[in-house]
Symmetry: C2
Subunit: 183 residues, 2 copies
DNA sequence: ACCTGAACACCGTTCAAGT
DNA sequence: ACCTGAACACCGTTCAAGT
């Protein structure tokens, strides 16, 4: 009779989706990883739906952590590049968790909306520090977030083809222009 | 004993995911829609996996069609705006099909890779017509595609919150700068 | 050629029973 | 409080049988 600890449950599920693929996530599979009966999970989360929520929440936190860490000791353009690289690295290192972020809809996961906002807020701070107005910073942050997310998401679905790092660096360089004042 | 036509199967499945949500897609559900036994589908596609492939392929074609149509009669910046608006409209009008595009991984669906390439190619033509070199056109097209896809994907997962059209128009406007020659 | 219906394996979920 | 194991509904898939 193995005992379940919620933090172990979460890290186990997050590691599992990265290794076995997000589609392999199931109550039975995680119960098997923890050496408990499938029904034992229902004490700690609301079934499969709850399991998916936990993975998505963990993925969000991990992504934000990485971005924040990458931004330390940088500013301006180089901060955007550093954060962009961290975003991509997370998706490459943790494909299952990133897939969880792509699938989750905030309609089902109310707490997830705040995490995407957190990402934008981190970007916003960088632009504010560059001297942009609050409104300009928010718009620039959203655009930057969109471009970074789009590239990484497209690379994610394109599977493990060739390395697109140079195209990504080009994108991050052109992103500097969105911070410039409007014509 | 209802008869199955493959084109009806595809349009039925595509409509179904838009109405009932992508996660509701199942062999049983589509069989029910077509008034046949679940096992009857296996004559026309490879089970659930095949069903998902068909929906993803249909979604790709529909998206590319819309983008191409939007580009007719426009050029340059206004073409990018028109194609960007068409991209977003597809995701808003067909959330289930767009979800299929977000989930499909080309590792499993070899034919899907070519469709994403098709989108980039359409963008590339626009930039070439603007006078950019082939290499510059490709890079600009990829960046533009990333930004558009990212915004629409983030809006998609954020659920049916407020309307973000004005932020999107801002993004499309700033995208014009990626077509400018490098500093 | 293509659909039906039985059959099987497997999963999600509930719940009484144990500790 | 929390895990087990039985039980149930449901789904994906296969296949022999029909037409």
């Amino acid at each position: 009779m193995a005992k379940i600890r919620i933090d172990v449950l979460i890290t186990t599920a997050a590691s599992f989706v990265d290794d076995a693929g997000y589609d392999a996530l199931s109550v039975s599979a995680i119960a098997g990883e923890l050496d408990v009966a499938p029904s034992a999970l229902y004490t700690h989360c609301e079934g499969l739906k709850g399991l998916r929520s936990l993975v998505a929440a963990a993925a969000s936190e991990n992504l934000v952590d990485r971005i924040r860490t990458a931004a330390i000791g940088t500013a301006g353009d180089s901060a955007v590049v550093a954060m962009g690289l961290a975003y991509r690295r997370f998706a490459l290192d943790h494909p299952g968790q990133f897939a969880a972020l792509l699938r989750a809809r905030s309609s089902d996961e109310p707490d997830l909306r705040s995490t995407n906002q957190t990402v934008v807020e981190v970007f916003t701070l960088v632009f504010t520090a560059m001297g942009l107005s609050p409104r300009q910073s928010t718009l620039a942050a959203r655009s930057t977030h969109s471009a970074i997310h789009g590239f990484v998401a497209l690379e994610h679905v394109s599977g493990t083809g060739g390395d697109h790092e140079s195209e990504y660096l080009y994108l991050l360089r052109t992103l500097q222009r969105v911070a410039e004042p409007e014509n």
